[in-house]
Symmetry: C2
Subunit: 335 residues, 2 copies
DNA sequence: TATATTAATGCAATCGTTTGCATTAATATA
DNA sequence: TATATTAATGCAAACGATTGCATTAATATA
């Protein structure tokens, strides 16, 4: 059962390989009769063109590489799914690389992508070395999503503005003792932007108390860590509003409060980030910020394809949406 | 800035392309001197071998295809991540196909994988046509994970036994009015197995009441649907134990009960399936069943590689683990 | 010293497509 | 009818790597 090649099809159809190629590609001047003979032959033999040969000859692979910190994170997995969807629509394949937020893994990953001759790359999420991305962009078109690198077209969210609005809304709702609890930035620009929005809103106010905790350990298993953090330390400082950089952290806090007998939102308002599926059904449901992963992915993908086809692509900023639920009762309109 | 090829390296090192190839592949008899000259040249030019050319010549791509229903599902995304990890360890790349539980998408996906000349395929999760898998296995080695197809080596879980034990434990804990709420099977063997375990345990008992609801609509947005289902219908029939086929369904029920003023676990015990991250921190935390996605992935991947290398691979069954939490207070030991 | 063996390297074919150019046959134009 | 034009197809050369075989030089054996 040998692999059937274009020559086999050609032989059966009684034409040359070139003709088969042209028929299957379409758009060339081929007689009606030949066309159908070739198609029949290809059909009958179950001919499947060999991508490796095609890539080699055309010096285009119709594939792209996507680098993300961790494909099992809810947000990233949604991006992965969306990119697969959009890629399939135009006949592209996708190679995923997990950087694991580690420089070495990312460097290897990029090298693998280049070996495979991807036509372009998308870098989603931060944490990695911008220099690496910049370097990759000298071999191949590059877009970034949810992070920025100089001179690379990107699709990002308005993190800073959103958290500013959120913080102001909490202030308007009467909260005066704030805690910001989030992952340490580690080069994640979106995280530092969120925090910047927090200070934007509150640093000029003088009738409030503000505490900040940025924890490395929150990068991993956020739920259990935030749970522990809260139990160990936060109940002493008793904030009346906690802004977190992640729904899992928020959920951890809610869960911990429940164990401690602290009522949410009556005693403490808690907000998250990401609008994870479970957040809508948590008890209490989590007030959070929604980022449209599908839209991010669509714009990144289409932008990259444009670049690949030598069309221009501009950076875009997507608006996040504050989802008001039970864990923090705010009125957005007031801000 | 043209792409640098093996010939460029050869020229710079003053040897033939064959020699460069052999040096870089290793294991051939090459003089120490030549070796280092070649390596230096490759390094200096930033030579990256072209995978397409290599695949074409070797008729092996060192890549595999993975077909799963939906890469953004928590369990599947964990599998994806694990497979990427194990593949990278041995220099394989992975192409993911989302079947979306649709026959046509799956057929297309398999065709794309064959075009790309993957050396093998892993099918994870059910829903699709076994015939398609069987057919694929005639072109290329195939493993299945969390689903079975005749004559294809597989890695599965002991769903039936687990749910039998779970049901018995609930019975032992005094529950007498059972509801089984799950997705309709739709060819998902793991789902029908779970239900089979349920009937195994309870069909012979005569002092109990049993209701079954298998809903198509639960395949999509489980949380909101199970929430609605519960609100509309289940509170009338008032079971004292609900076994679900999914943590999201369980969470939906818990959330709905809370709104209705029904206390869990006091009035109704609820169990889930999958041990999603959020389940440990739900209120109340969800008693559920854990399936080791990483172990499944590891065995599937290693099994597939063995097949690719013409070594034998046997099917395996992994044990699930019942995680006892607050939403259903049972003692496992009693069963 | 002549011969056999081994080590190090090069030559050239091959993998399956695509595509510029040449060729042929058919048709239109003068 | 001779010539120009067009349509349909084939030829053959790439694309970049690998590898069986041939070649050469160096060393070992008799």
């Amino acid at each position: 059962m040998r692999k059937v090649t274009i020559k086999d099809v050609a032989r059966l159809a009684g034409v040359s390989a070139s003709t088969v190629s042209r028929v299957l590609a379409g758009g060339a001047a081929i007689s009606e009769d030949t066309c159908s003979r070739v198609r029949d032959a290809a059909e009958k033999l179950g001919y499947i063109p060999n991508t490796a040969a095609r890539s080699l000859r055309c010096e285009k692979s119709r594939s792209i590489g996507v680098v993300l910190p961790d494909i099992s994170g809810e947000f990233y997995s949604l991006c992965a799914s969306s990119i697969l969807k959009y890629a399939r629509m135009v006949g592209y394949t996708v190679l995923f690389i997990e950087s694991g937020r580690e420089l070495e893994a990312e460097r290897d990953g990029i090298r693998i992508l280049l070996q495979h001759g991807v036509d372009g790359m998308i870098f989603i999420g931060g944490g990695s070395d911008g220099a690496l991305i910049l370097e990759a962009s000298r071999s191949v078109p590059v877009m970034t999503g949810d992070r920025r690198v100089d001179n690379i077209p990107s699709v990002t969210f308005n993190n800073r503005e959103t958290v500013r609005r959120l913080s102001n809304a909490l202030y308007s709702a009467g909260h005066r003792s704030f805690l910001y609890l989030g992952e340490s930035f580690n080069g994640f620009e979106n995280l530092s932007e969120r925090y910047a929005g927090f200070t934007d809103a509150l640093s000029m106010k003088n009738d409030i108390r503000v505490t900040t905790m940025l924890e490395d350990s929150l990068h991993g298993d956020k739920l259990s860590v935030s749970f522990r953090l809260f139990c160990e330390r936060i109940k002493d400082m008793l904030p009346d509003a906690v802004i977190t950089s992640n729904d899992l952290i928020a959920q951890g806090i809610i869960s911990a409060s429940y164990k401690c007998g602290i009522r949410i939102p009556e005693q403490i308002a808690v907000t998250g980030f990401d609008d994870m599926t479970s957040s809508a059904y948590y008890t209490p449901s989590v007030t959070t910020v929604r980022q449209d992963a599908d839209e991010l992915s669509r714009l990144c993908f289409n932008g990259l394809i444009a670049l690949i086809e030598n069309k221009p692509t501009v950076s875009q900023i997507l608006k996040q949406k504050i989802i008001i639920r039970d864990s923090a009762e705010i009125k957005e309109g007031e801000v």
